[in-house]
Amino acid sequence: MKMNLFGTTTIMALGAMSLGGLPAMAQTPIKIGFVSTFSGPQAAIGEDMRRSVELAKEHLGGKIAGRPIEIIYEDDQFKPDVGKQKSEKLVQQDKVNFVAGYIWSNVLLASLKTVTDEGDTILISSNAGPSQIAGELCNKNFFSTSWQNDQTPMAMGEYLNTKGVKSLYLMAGNYAAGKDMLAGVRRTFKGEIKGEDLTKWPDQLDFSAELAKIRAAKPDGIFIFYPGAHGVQFLTQYSQAGLKSQVPLYQVFSIDAITLPLQKELALGTLGAQEWVNDLPNEQNKRYVADFKKKHTVYPSYYGAQSYDSIMLIASAAEALKGDLTNKDKVRAEMKKANFKSLRGDFKYNTNQFPIQNFYIQEAVKDPEGMMTVKTIATAVKDGKDPYYEKCPMK
């Protein structure tokens, strides 16, 4: 009986292989769910990510290890509860192999367990990097192709120390990422913090009260974290209030390829920190930026670059396993190698599966054609690790 069962299984397995088991697998697509914001004022970010994902797909020739790529986009509407619901749908109804995307830390935190634990599906964050997931909530099914929230402002803080900035006023949106960002800059900045405001997120777009406080506090500089549409609003009101000539602005994630077409000259000369800049001199990045610009006549942003990397990370693991994604342990092990050409240059994964990577200082400038963009002016941090990985039980 045992023998019989074994024999049957073997024959069936062999039969499946010879009768086109492999071609059958080759035909079933690799399904990737992509959660981002495609409606509302922040939809421009989601669009930039979608364009980059499509470009990655095109660069891969539409196939990974012979299997076609199918990408299902879902709109989180910028709301944690909606993002969670959409993630659930992707895992349970569409039965995707991977879920990627996530701009917002609060959306990611709400969705994480639905994907990684209840769905046992691998999640790749293309942007959000909340401290909780780097530390105590770290998960074998979670990978980041971006950064941990604290890291970028930490790089900014380091740079401001070297520049001799004596005091700062800090402002950010009051949600998971905003809190991490301010914690990050406080971690490295050695000068005085003259004041700190976390504003209602995402409802508050009127910063007049805070700007009045800044005027009274007279700091050496203002540090802000206002992604997307909020960054546009802040910069407009900051210059309308006449502060631009009095207190210089330093930012993370608030002046980029998404916001510059709206901020225009107001942003000129403003410094920021980032792990990826469009002028990083590696081959894959040159190709990405050139192809993106050719197609869409605008610069890509780090949101897009990180999304492109998410797809390439998936591709690297699936190629190494010849398209066979059934053994999740093997998939995770392959992904952990980060064996792909990242647009920021090669990086390694830390124990919590966040990248160990460089951070650069960038300045908002006009390119030779008169288009607003950012360019690298310095390296602020080399091979930076996030400050939470030791809290992560994974080794």
């Binding site: 944690p80 509860d81 749908k89 349970q92 709400a110 367990k113 949600y175």
Partner: protein, 321 residues
């Protein structure tokens, strides 16, 4: 039971209940886990809709803040769980008590007002709790909070989707049973009588205010139960679960299904969720991409229902005896 099958209404009701009872088996047979998730939400929302129907449908009290009980039930479970109290035997009674007390307080203050002011004051109290939820930094504020599900060791594991669904279904049946007892009791008749003419009921010597307050409080308790289940369904709480739009949805569901009927809220919830899930693909058949705009059809449907179809779905099955 057999007699019930002879009328269309009876037939549909039995059919719906049977399908709901075996739903986990169906979704497993067809490997449709997502349908079970939707089914669970339908059952939980039905409990809330039945509870709203007790005051809105039978009693004519237009409460525009019923989703607040989702929030109170959910946050009671979530806050206890965040402090390490994971036993459902403690969480659930506390949550029910919280919802009941809040309903009693809100009822006592707002049932003194009439008509429009009642609508607005119930809305105001719900908004108040909504903003308190958004202001609780320790419990995630607007970002919401992941919680662990209530534990009933040795009795039931709520992490098992099928068992959780059946638990919700049994509780829905219990709620329906209670509602039918309520509607046909002396107490229920006073509430129903006061809907059409509360002066007459007062003249007859019934303390209408106290009866209404009792009904409002009971309704709040069942709303709290739905909140407990909703928090356990997603293992997540956030102020969004008690936003005023959710309260509006609940009113829509009750009217859509048929106000003041026992099974109306159940039909209404099913119709609401089925429309939400099926209108988009249906519109997509017309032209790819139209599905995204399903509410442009759903909105005017509500207007038409309000104008011309007050009986709701229940009235499709013929006049009631």
């Amino acid at each position: 039971m057999i007699a019930a099958l002879r009328t269309p209404r009876g037939l549909v009701t039995v059919l719906v209940l049977v399908v709901l009872a075996v739903l986990p088996l169906l979704t497993q047979a067809f490997d449709q886990r997502y349908l079970l998730s939707i089914g669970t939400k339908i059952v939980i929302w039905s409990i809330a809709a039945v509870s709203l129907n007790m005051i809105l449908g039978y009693g004519g009290m237009v409460s525009f803040g019923h989703a607040v009980f989702f929030g109170i039930g959910g946050y009671a479970v979530g806050i206890l769980s965040a402090h390490g109290v994971s036993s459902g035997w403690i969480q659930w009674p506390v949550a029910l008590l919280a919802a009941t007390l809040w309903a009693a307080l809100v009822g006592a203050l707002s049932l003194r007002t009439r008509g429009l002011y009642f609508i607005m004051i119930t809305l105001a109290f719900a908004q108040l709790v909504y903003y308190v939820g958004g202001g609780l930094e320790a419990y995630g504020a607007d970002d919401g909070l992941n919680i662990s599900r209530s534990r009933f060791p040795g009795v039931i594991d709520l992490r098992n989707k099928a068992s959780f669904y059946w638990l919700c279904f049994v509780l829905l049946c219990g709620t329906l049973w209670f509602c039918s007892r309520f509607a046909n009791s002396r107490f229920g008749y006073v509430i129903r009588g006061a809907k059409s003419n509360d002066l007459r009921m007062t003249a007859l010597g019934f303390p209408v205010f106290r009866y209404r307050l009792a009904a409002f409080t009971i309704s709040g308790a069942f709303g709290g139960l739905a909140g407990i289940l909703l928090a356990n369904e997603g293992a997540y709480i956030s102020p969004a679960m008690m936003s005023w739009v959710k309260s509006g949805d609940l009113i829509v569901i009750v009217v859509l299904g048929g106000m003041g009927t026992l099974f109306g809220p159940l039909y209404g919830t099913i119709a609401f969720f089925v429309l939400e899930e099926s209108l988009p693909p249906l519109l997509d058949l017309g032209r790819k991409g139209w599905g995204e705009y399903w509410q442009i059809v759903f909105g005017p449907m509500l207007v038409l229902i309000a104008l011309y179809a007050r009986g709701g779905i229940d009235s499709l099955f013929g006049r009631r005896r």
